[in-house]
Assembly symmetry: C2
Homo-oligomer: 111 residues x 2
C-alpha cells in the first residue's frame, strides 16, 4: 500500500453504487477513461486532464473518484498526483475498466 496518503476504501470495500455514481458524471468518466487507457499506470498530475471546469470543481471530482476507491491521490503539499487503482478495481469489479474503452472518444463534452 505504498504512495497512498489520501486514502479511499480498501479493495474489498469498494461499493458498486459509489462506483456507478462516480462514473455517471461525464468529467469524472473522461478522467477514468484516460487513466484506463494508459496501461503503464504512471502517476499523473491532476491538471494533465485539462477539464473545462474550475479548480474547486476539479478538487471535488477527484475527491469523489478517490472516495469511490477508483484512484489514489498523492499529496505533495502544493501539488497532487493521481494514480489509477487498477489492480484493486480489477480484483473487485473485473471488466469494469474495459467498459470505459467502449465509449467513443470525444464524447466527453459537458452535457
Amino acid at each position: 500500500m505504498a504512495g497512498r496518503n489520501l486514502v479511499g476504501p480498501e479493495a474489498d470495500a469498494l461499493d458498486l453504487g459509489a462506483v456507478f455514481r462516480a462514473l455517471a458524471d461525464e468529467h469524472r468518466r473522461s478522467v477514468m477513461t484516460e487513466l484506463a487507457a494508459d496501461r503503464s499506470d504512471s502517476e499523473r498530475g491532476c491538471n494533465s486532464f485539462d477539464l473545462p471546469i474550475s479548480k474547486q470543481t476539479q478538487t471535488h471530482h477527484f475527491r469523489v473518484l478517490r472516495e469511490a476507491g477508483l484512484i489514489d491521490e498523492i499529496d505533495y503539499g502544493n501539488r497532487k498526483g493521481i494514480r489509477l487503482r487498477r489492480t484493486d478495481i480489477e480484483k473487485r469489479f473485473p471488466g469494469l475498466l474495459a467498459l470505459l474503452g467502449e465509449e467513443p472518444p470525444g464524447d466527453t463534452a459537458p452535457r
Copy 2:
C-alpha cells in the same frame, strides 16, 4: 426485435453515461441485479420486485431503465411486462451484467 412496443435506443446506440446514471440509483440497480441473476430472461411483471416506493416512482424508474436501453417494457394496457435486454447489453458492454452480481445481496436498501 419482437415484443418491444415501448422502445428504447438500439443496441449500437447505447450510451455509457446513460447506463451508469441508470445504475447509480439503488432501486434501479436492485431491479437490474435481479434481472441479471435470472439466466432464463423470462418476462416479469413490474410489481414482482416489491420496491419500497410508490407506483408513480416505479413508473419513473422503469422508464429510465428503458430509455437507457437496459430493459424492454411490454405494454398490455392495464399491466406491463419487463424483460432484460441481455444480448444487446452484452454486445455493447460485455461484462457489465456480471458486475451486478458482484454486489452482495441485501445491500439494496434505500439510501
